[in-house]
């Protein structure tokens, strides 16, 4: 599904080159949750941003590596965007190739944007402060998921007798909870808005006939008009994705002749349809009328998602500005934005740090649900090892720009291999772990290395209590250790003191 290979991302600062990701390797399978942990500043967010191609250039650039996502290399075609030149006096300087960058960003937005969502670490700096939050999410939906919205609108059909039977039951079922469930079922089947149907059900003084008549009228009113336009918009998006994906396969060097042919066909069809589309949209009145159903559907979906992430009064919050929300609410707005897109791959960078544990439990349920429902893959970055333990299938541990250990979650907690992982697990503050309150908490001695001049050899050696001579000069490689584990530490290589405990390779 996603395979990151040898990713190197660097920042050019006045004091030198910071290699924030230095040869990062990992895979995520379909439907898998991979946890990424590591000390503050070790390059987790940089890895995530590199996958999204959102590294600020300058000062940053992706120096090398490959990111394979569903058969294409996301980095293919981006090689010439930013190059390092030695300036006068030997200072390296980043030179940006704007047109190449713009082309690649557009390609990313079209292909990747439709399948990958990211929850950013700092909600305040990724939400626009001068726009209401609901409006911002709706914008993203319309821009990136127009196809999904059109599909939903096109799926609406005239109401059947069978639907009406369901509705009758939702009105008269003796059990309140069951009525609620029937209402949801009915709205799903008939694609009618929940609030309006609920209002008809709870309106007193109506006979059943009158209720049915109102539902029929509601269905009539919300029947999809201008289906030709929705189909056109949908087809445009499909063709564009097809064209871009094929083109990208060519860039990635994995294309067959078939790809080339399909790319040209899709491109030609896209161009011809786009003419019509642009013509229609250039007339303001038409634009307004035709876009309205799409906008309304997007709004509905946003409200639904806000409710899912436990925002009370979604209608009020929809119109509020980011600064009017509490820290946790801003974070939940970001989560709602990512979940609304039904992404195939979701990257969550510290999504629940400012949420209380009950709300966090709810969010974790939503994440699990996303995976169950559409089999999404999730890269979950967090400091909270307890969340990792609850949610993830596998864990990758990062230290100073490198992955140092990777293992299934149970094995990692039961038996950490790398000395850094060991230290990390020891310093968990846990409710079950009794620490006398005047004793200091256990920490990993020493400080995070400065990535400007990382330590030689194993980057952990200045802080490692097991370090020996070889660690200072040579760099350990990430080697398999059996049972799907990998670790980068000399203790487990040939001749290391722990090598005997495990049989390498397997």
């Amino acid at each position: 599904m996603l395979s990151v290979q040898g990713l190197q991302t660097e920042f050019l600062t006045p004091r030198g080159v910071i290699r924030a990701a230095d040869g990062v390797d990992f895979d995520i399978q379909e439907g898998e949750v991979l946890g990424l942990v590591g000390e503050s500043g070790c390059g987790k967010s940089v890895t995530a941003l590199s996958i999204m191609y959102l590294i600020p250039t300058p000062p940053g650039r992706i120096a090398s590596g490959a990111i394979w996502f569903r058969g294409i290399n996301l980095l293919a075609g981006s090689e010439n965007e930013a190059t390092v030149h030695r300036g006068l006096g030997g200072k390296p300087k980043l030179v940006r190739n704007d047109s190449a960058l713009r082309r690649h960003r557009a390609r990313m937005a079209k292909v990747r944007g439709r399948e990958v969502s990211m929850i950013f670490q700092e909600p305040m700096s990724s939400l626009n402060p001068v726009l209401p939050v609901g409006y911002q999410i709706a914008e993203v939906l319309i821009y990136q998921r127009r196809k999904m919205i059109c599909d939903r609108l096109l799926a609406r059909k005239a109401i059947t007798d069978e639907d009406l039977e369901l509705f009758k039951e939702a009105v008269t079922h003796p059990d309140a909870a069951q009525r609620e469930r029937l209402l949801t079922d009915f709205c799903l089947q008939s694609a009618l808005p929940v609030e309006k149907v609920a209002a008809i059900i709870d309106r007193s003084g109506l006979q059943m006939e009158e209720r049915l008549a109102r539902i029929r009228r509601l269905s009539e009113r919300s029947r999809t008009r201008y289906a030709w336009f929705l189909r056109l918009a949908r087809e445009l998006d499909v063709l564009e994705s097809e064209w871009m994906t094929r083109e990208w396969r060519v860039l990635s060097g994995v294309a067959s002749s078939e790809d080339d042919r399909r790319r040209l066909a899709a491109q030609a069809q896209f161009r011809s349809r786009q003419v019509l589309f642009k013509l229609v949209m250039s007339i303001p009145v038409l634009h307004r009328i035709l876009m309205r159903p799409i906008e309304e559907e997007a709004r509905r979906r946003v409200l639904e998602q806000l409710k899912n992430v436990r925002i009370s009064e979604p209608h009020k919050v929809y119109n509020e500005y980011p600064h009017e929300l509490s820290g946790g609410m801003q974070q939940r707005v970001m989560i709602a934005m990512a979940l609304a897109c039904d992404p195939a791959l979701m990257i969550a960078d510290e999504p629940t740090t400012s949420l209380d544990v009950t709300t966090q439990a709810q969010i974790l349920t939503l994440v699990r649900d996303l995976r169950e429902r559409i089999h999404s893959s999730i890269l979950y970055i967090t400091h909270d090892l307890a969340v990792i333990a609850e949610l993830c299938d596998r864990v990758a541990v990062m230290y100073a720009g490198k992955i140092v250990e990777e293992a299934p979650v149970g094995d990692l907690f039961a038996h950490p291999l790398h000395p850094y992982t060991e230290g990390l697990l020891e310093s968990i503050v846990s409710l079950d772990k009794e620490v006398p309150s005047d004793a200091p908490l256990p920490t990993i001695a020493g400080t995070v290395p400065d990535l400007l001049s990382p330590p030689s050899g194993c980057r952990f050696h200045p802080r490692c209590k097991y370090a020996f001579a070889r660690c200072k000069t040579e760099e350990p490689r990430l080697l398999p250790q059996g049972d799907g584990r990998r670790v980068a530490c000399f203790l487990y290589e040939e001749g290391g003191s722990r090598a005997a405990e495990r049989s390498p390779g397997a």
Partner: protein, 458 residues
């Protein structure tokens, strides 16, 4: 400086009846259409030298409360007292509640004149008079990314508050800066860097150093470690404890991490929807939580062990809105121990009533005339039946239906109904007036607001 300042009193910061309502703007003209009751009547005190932890659901008003205590925003009503004797604080609180009960109206931030609180109430000071106090109460916020000015060198970030507050020369101030930096575990060469050149943990240390610079007595720590990894988090917590021990600082710690609370705090206050619902010494709160919300909160703490995924008490139902909080006990819509007298009101029963008494929907209601309207008036739910005046026999049918529904699962709201009466051509279901549970001290220092625990005699 406050007149009371020559002495160090037991309570460093105390809040009395504190409220903060934010206007909700709406419509084309963006007029105020409602109020978000972010903090809605909070009494809270922090003793000198202790750490009080404040926990609660996201959006329940913790940050707002912290900002009120530091006078970063003005309260809608209520007072904040600084450095006040314990007995004076207690009597101020009692007096406030007596007055609030007498007229029920929202009061101005200023309490009654001549109540002897003038020397302590920072909410009564003018901005200029408050200025010298500001340095004695410092905040540290969650986000070290946005709370440090990116264009200033670390040395200037730290020197600024010292130069503003003290009559120090520049060299003296720089000496103090170097000392501060050492105190938070950074190296002198870090002085000449910009904030973005540091990792999250280091930035948080700088934020703490800046808060310590003006030598405050009170620190508001609003999620100081939630952006940090476990190892750095442990370092920062050790640092905070160490500073507290050496300098006798007082902390208000807002955090979602209950393990941190347990390690750091002397006392814990639990907040729900703008109110404090439980307060206890830390050990006692974790050992024997009393309020159902506290219990749910403790059960939801994730365990760092993939083999033991613990049973959680999930809170059912929608999160109630702080614009129009539930009546009675604010937690009653989601409480798993809820009782008939917890503050149910007509709005909890309206939707069910629309089914229950409608002859076209509920076969058991077939002897009733067609229901035309269900309306809410105060603590009454009124049922109107078309043009016809309901009879005594029909009232009996309604009363039976109410009894039947009350016996079913989820029918708690109907158990609360006191009376089914004929009135003005309609049938009226009467609920008891919604009273909030009293704040009861169950054990020394352990108080809770919940009807499960004995209420004081009226």
């Amino acid at each position: 400086m406050l007149p009371s300042d020559r002495q160090a009193h037991e309570i460093l910061v105390g809040a009395v009846g504190l409220k903060k309502h934010f206007p909700v703007k709406g419509g084309v003209l963006r007029r105020t259409i409602a109020q978000v009751r972010a903090v809605d009547g909070v009494d809270l005190f922090v003793r000198r030298g202790e750490t009080l932890a404040l926990v609660g659901e996201s959006g329940c008003g913790k940050t707002t409360l912290g900002r009120l205590l530091l006078r970063l925003i003005p309260p809608t009503s209520g007072e904040v007292l600084f450095n006040v004797p314990a007995n004076l604080y207690a009597s101020a609180r009692d007096r406030w509640h007596r007055i609030a009960q007498d007229d029920g109206a929202m009061r101005s931030p200023k309490g009654p004149q001549g109540d002897g609180l003038d020397p302590y109430a920072i909410t009564r000071l003018r901005t200029r008079a408050f200025k010298p106090l500001r340095r004695r109460m410092q905040p540290v916020f969650q986000d070290p990314f946005t709370s440090l000015d990116p264009r200033m060198l670390v040395k200037d970030i730290l020197a600024e508050p010292i130069l503003i507050n003290n009559q120090m020369t520049r060299p003296e101030a720089m000496e103090r800066v170097a000392q501060l930096l050492q105190e938070v575990g950074l190296r002198p060469d870090h002085l000449y860097r910009f904030p973005h050149e540091f990792s999250g943990g280091q930035r948080q240390r700088i934020a703490i150093a800046r808060a310590l610079a003006p030598e405050p007595e009170f620190l508001l720590l609003d999620e100081p470690t939630s952006a940090l990894d476990v190892s750095v988090q442990a370092q920062i917590l050790n640092l905070l404890k160490d500073i507290q021990r050496r300098q006798g600082l007082t902390y208000l710690l807002i955090t979602h991490n209950l393990s941190v609370v347990r390690h750091m705090a002397d006392r814990v206050a639990v907040m729900y929807l703008g109110r404090i619902v439980e307060e206890a010494p830390t050990r006692e709160l974790f050992g024997s939580p009393l309020h159902p919300y506290t219990k749910a909160l403790l059960s939801a703490v994730p365990v760092p062990d993939p083999k033991r995924r613990r049973e959680k008490i999930l809170l059912p139902g929608d999160v109630p809105s702080p614009v129009d909080p539930p009546t009675g006990c604010r937690f009653h819509t989601r409480c798993n121990a809820v009782m008939p007298h917890c503050g149910w009101s007509p709005r909890d029963a309206a939707s069910a009533a629309a089914y229950l008494f409608d002859s076209s929907r509920n076969p058991h209601a077939s002897t009733l005339p067609a229901l035309s309207e269900v309306s809410m008036e105060g603590n009454r739910l009124r049922l109107l039946f078309g043009g016809s005046r309901p009879t005594e026999a029909q009232r009996q049918v309604v009363a039976d239906l109410v009894r039947g529904r009350a016996a079913e699962a989820g029918g708690m709201a109907f158990q609360a109904i006191r009376e089914v009466a004929l009135a003005e051509g309609s049938i009226v279901l009467e609920f008891p007036p919604p009273l909030e549970p009293a704040w009861v001290e169950v054990a020394p220092g352990h108080s809770v607001a919940c009807y499960l625990y004995p209420q004081p005699q009226a």
